[in-house]
């Protein structure tokens, strides 16, 4: 169905959450709304639009423009409808001669200082000022344009994505309020008074030099052309729109892809999207240009050896070539000698098909996913303790939290739209405990100061969490009746003996963790007795050799304090990639069928065997690191890798590269020639999220539609490519639309039983489990009882990593992300987001830098036990002495050349967060970097030859 472009409906002021209903009359129409609703909104809900300029339903009403005046029987004057709340029996008139005159007078003043270039203005036809002038019937401007005005004010074009043209500004302050209320950055102010007043970024800086993080919230709400997307200035107004889901992070924001033909001209955050409610970050909002970047490869390619030039071929030839080689490998080396890696960036339906092809077509269970290297400990830890491998809440539930723990996560950089919600709640007074080696932005940012920052030494999350639990138990702060009713009491008693041991007391863990005992005690008391306690954690928890233990310790803390099973509480993993949750749900792990059911379970297996008409292997397959090991041993020879860049993202790069070189047939499906593709024999062109239909599942378990906005550039969406390969391998698949794949998933998976595209259309999005018991989904999990029955307190013994600092490697390196770049950077590096982060930097404390004679911006060598690389230094107190930090968005940085192959004991999730290193000043790139650059040149040359 074509959805013609129109601005999203705006009711003028936010929806009221009042419980009582109030009935009033507006223009003679009886209207019933919740108490606390504004007169403006009540009118809008009944189809009556009151003209307005400073009001929008994204922001609290402000009452400055005086265009929205109405008459209310029994009241004097003309109250502003945006700031007046409804009362029972109120009689409101929105139109009269007197009102009309007043509104025209106000408009006249605004327009007398506004350029009249509507016909050539970039927002012509999409401008609230223009609309309002029309609505109030403005026909002339008596004041002329000769007096003082701002018509010559200079445009600020510094931001790569939007311009600020002050000559068009009406100083309604919507932008300032959006930056405060919606985004929480406080980058804008109104400087000066009266005629002098103007919008100013930071200290009257250019936008790019200010604190602005380019979220676009101010641009969304600006009623004029003052703040306008450059893409709109270039291309003009969109003509149709497609509602879809962001393909970057696990927040899963909903967007309108606004189109002109097959060109995306703007991504506008969708107000009805429940994950984001109209907000976005710089990635989803602006960084979509990669989808049509010249580096896109849109034709399948093959080659016999990685030293050969690529040869462009038809889809049929590429698919048949792959099938032949895979069959030959299996014939020679056995059934288990091939496998696949599915992608957390692809849709649920695509991931489901890849694992189906492996299990039913390859005849083994050698399927794994990149969640192996991020949140596999979450799956293990939450399943063990609570019974389900997923977060417990909705994002919106944080609005009811009283105490929030953020651990090993950096939401303002990695999950920005959630961070904005969280910051809103913190500004309202909720308390914050940050557990992180670094002083992340939340520790101290405008209007927010963490109540406690526990600066753990990398690798010591478990003793920190154990100490928190110890204090709670020791001081009798546990939720006795909750535990008695909801948890396995026998196990709890055993755990109590364990955790009560004085070795877990903060005074005794202080030496290990570096967290002062007094702070830790106070933080434990706050979490246990401060009301609703919610925990949000990220990869700083999971990517350790004790990642699974830490996740279980987090779940223990939440159960201990009764903080699971209602609004405002819970245990919430912040997922890295857009569809990590979904790829795990869809059976991407080698031991589990979709819905987290073990492959050895005969009943489940039979269900799938019946549907797929095959016999399934009952034994788990290889995990990604096992695949690499087996490849080096010569037992694993063929790999199909969809939408992942393991050569860049997985630890110990030299080891990974050696494994990839050992493969006889590596098939990479991606939108670019990524680092892994440089080792490939077959390249299947992937489709970006704009080119396909499907669903993503975000960190709230929310399943949202991805809708095709443009046709796949290569002619096939990823699910179609997998289907073709499966068919060539003799594993029949015949779907005409991803909705049919979802129907199959629903038939086979109890937690998805009630999910269908029709229902998604109707509800917008669905949080699983969705079945007969919960036909509209499950926003909050474990309400009356845990999914596993009784909550399980797992033992959380701390086993320190073998990766220790010593004289040779005295510093601990930890890794993370930055707002403007995403994961391995393949997408964001091909956008103007590079203007914020053109290279990965090494953060080092001034004390450590000085000791080594290192100054800001120097090139420094980073040596670990497994490798070395060279980065530029950023000397900062954000890291504490003894700790260094970098990001991994650029391949040339080789951040993973130095990370070790240590991994989580339960899941083999790599220990990215702890590497002992030495830092020294250097003058040239590392040997690995020199080799990488020459290999990169060679492979690009081989690609160019194919293209010629």
């Amino acid at each position: 169905m074509v959805e013609f472009y129109q601005p999203q409906a705006d009711f003028g002021t936010p929806m009221s959450v009042g419980k009582q209903l109030v009935t009033l009359s507006i223009d003679g129409v009886s209207v019933t709304v919740p108490e606390g609703t504004s007169v403006m909104r009540a009118a809008a809900e009944s189809g009556i639009k009151v003209p307005r300029l400073c009001a929008t339903d994204q922001l609290a009403s402000f009452g400055s423009c005086r265009v929205c005046l109405v008459e209310i029987q029994g009241r004097r004057g003309f109250p502003a409808s945006c700031t007046t709340t409804v009362e029972a029996g109120m009689q409101v008139q929105t139109q009269s001669d007197a009102i009309g005159k007043l509104r025209r007078n106000v408009m006249e003043l605004y327009i007398s200082d506004h350029p009249l270039d509507c016909l050539t203005c970039p927002t012509n036809g999409d401008c609230e000022l223009q609309d309002t002038a029309g609505e109030v019937g403005l026909r002339s401007v008596r004041y002329g344009f000769d007096g003082d005005n701002h018509l010559d004010a200079e445009k600020d074009q510094s931001n790569p994505y939007f311009t600020f043209d002050p000559s068009k500004c009406i100083v309604c302050s919507r932008c300032v309020r959006a930056c405060e209320e919606v985004q929480g950055t406080f980058a804008l102010t109104i400087d000066g008074r009266g005629f002098e007043s103007k919008v100013s970024a930071s200290q009257d800086d250019a936008f790019m030099d200010s604190e602005c993080v380019s979220c676009g919230a101010c641009v969304n709400v600006c009623p004029t052309a003052t703040l306008t997307e450059k893409s709109i200035i270039d291309a003009g107004k969109p003509e149709h729109a497609v509602t879809t889901t962001c393909a970057y992070c696990g927040v899963g924001c909903s967007f309108k892809a606004e189109m002109k033909g097959n060109q995306v001209v703007r991504m506008t955050p969708y107000k009805d999207g429940k994950a984001n409610e109209g907000h976005a970050c710089v990635k989803g909002r602006f960084a979509f240009g990669y989808a049509t970047h010249k580096d896109r490869i849109t034709t399948p390619m093959i080659r016999d050896s990685i030293d050969d030039a690529w040869r462009e071929v038809s889809w049929d030839e590429a698919v048949n070539y792959t099938a032949e080689r895979f069959k030959a490998i299996q014939a020679k080396y056995g059934r288990t000698s091939i496998g696949a890696i599915s992608s957390s960036r692809c849709t649920n339906e695509e991931v489901y098909l890849v694992q189906k092809m492996v299990r039913a077509g390859f005849g083994n269970n050698n399927i794994d996913t990149c969640a192996r290297v991020c949140h596999s400990p979450t799956g293990f830890g939450l399943k063990t303790t609570l019974g389900e491998s997923a977060g417990t809440q909705t994002f919106a539930s944080v609005a009811e939290a009283d105490v929030v723990i953020v651990m090993g996560a950096n939401p303002t950089e990695a999950h920005p739209v959630f961070a904005s919600r969280l910051k809103r709640r913190l500004r309202q007074g909720a308390k914050l405990i940050v557990i992180d080696p670094r002083k992340i932005e939340l520790v101290s940012s405008p209007h927010i100061t963490a109540d406690f920052h526990l600066p753990v030494r990398p690798g010591t999350n478990v003793p920190t969490l154990n100490a928190l639990a110890h204090v709670i138990v020791n001081e009798g702060l546990e939720a006795h009746s909750y535990i008695e009713q909801r948890c396995d009491v026998e196990e709890f008693e055993r755990w109590l003996t364990f955790i009560g041991n004085p070795r877990h007391a903060p005074e005794n863990t202080e030496e290990i963790t570096g967290v002062p005992a007094a702070d830790l005690r106070a933080a434990a008391r706050l979490y246990a007795s401060g009301g609703n306690g919610a925990i949000f954690y990220g990869l700083g928890v999971t990517e350790h050799s004790q990642g699974s233990t830490a996740v279980m310790a987090i779940a223990n803390l939440a159960m201990l304090t009764g903080n699971v099973g209602r609004e405002g509480v819970g245990v919430n993993p912040l997922r890295g990639q857009n569809n990590v949750q979904g790829s795990c749900d869809m059976g991407s792990f080698p031991h589990e069928l979709p819905g987290y059911r073990h492959i050895s379970d005969t009943t489940t297996r039979q269900l799938f065997e019946g549907e797929w008409n095959v016999t399934l292997d009952s034994e788990p397959g290889l995990r990604i690191p096992n695949m690499f090991d087996a490849a080096l041993d010569g037992d694993f020879k063929g790999l199909y890798c969809q939408g992942e860049d393991i050569a860049q993202s997985d630890p110990n790069t030299q080891h990974v590269e050696a494994a990839l070189r050992a493969l006889e047939c590596l098939v990479v499906q991606d939108i670019f020639l990524n680092e892994t593709a440089k080792f490939a024999h077959v390249f299947l062109p992937g489709a970006s999220f704009l080119e396909k239909d499907g669903t993503f599942t975000n960190a709230e378990r929310r399943i949202s539609r991805v809708r095709k906005a443009i046709p796949p550039l290569s002619g096939k969406a990823d699910w179609q490519a997998t289907m073709a390969l499966a068919n060539a391998l003799g594993c029949p698949m015949n779907y005409s639309h991803p909705s049919e794949i979802m129907d199959e998933i629903a038939r086979l998976t109890p937690t998805f039983r009630g999910v269908s595209y029709a229902k998604l259309e109707q509800l917008g999005s669905i949080q699983w489990p969705c079945n007969d018991l919960t036909p509209e989904g499950t926003p909050i999990m474990h309400i009356d009882q845990f999914v596993r029955g009784k909550g399980f307190f797992a033992m959380t013994e701390y086993v320190a990593t073998t990766e220790r600092a010593n004289r040779k490697f005295p510093l601990l390196l930890t890794t993370g992300r930055i707002l403007s770049q995403y994961n391995v950077g393949a997408q964001t590096r091909r956008t103007d987001n590079n203007q914020w982060h053109a290279e990965d930097l090494l953060e080092i404390h001034p004390h450590d830098a000085e000791e080594r004679g290192i100054s800001h911006d120097d090139w420094v060598g980073v040596n670990s036990r497994v490798g070395d690389t060279v980065l530029r230094a950023n000397v900062t107190e954000r890291v504490k002495p003894g700790v260094v930090y970098t990001t991994f968005h650029h391949p040339v940085s080789g951040a993973n050349v130095i990370t070790t192959d240590n991994s989580d004991w339960a899941t083999n999730c790599p220990e990215y967060k702890v590497t002992a290193v030495q830092i020294s000043k250097v003058t040239k790139p590392s040997n690995w970097q020199a080799r990488q650059q020459s290999f990169d040149r060679q492979q690009r040359g081989l690609l160019e030859r194919a293209r010629q």
Binding site: T336, P620, L632, D633, D635, N908
Partner: protein, 80 residues
Amino acid sequence: MSQPQLQRLIKMINQIALNMSANGDPKMVGYQVAQHLEKFWSPPMKNLITEQPIDAQMALSPIAQIAIGDLRRMQLAKRV
């Protein structure tokens, strides 16, 4: 499978055993470790470790040794 592969598996089992060590007495933990391996390891990995005669050279922790014995029994039981 090769010697380095065997060394890696031994390192993994020792690590699992150590991390589960607080769960109870060595016998019980050994059994839990065996269950973990049975649940998450692929057959070639399980075979490689159970087909080795356990000797002092292998640097297996006591719990890991119990686990391998239990895993061997689990595998035999499946074959019957």
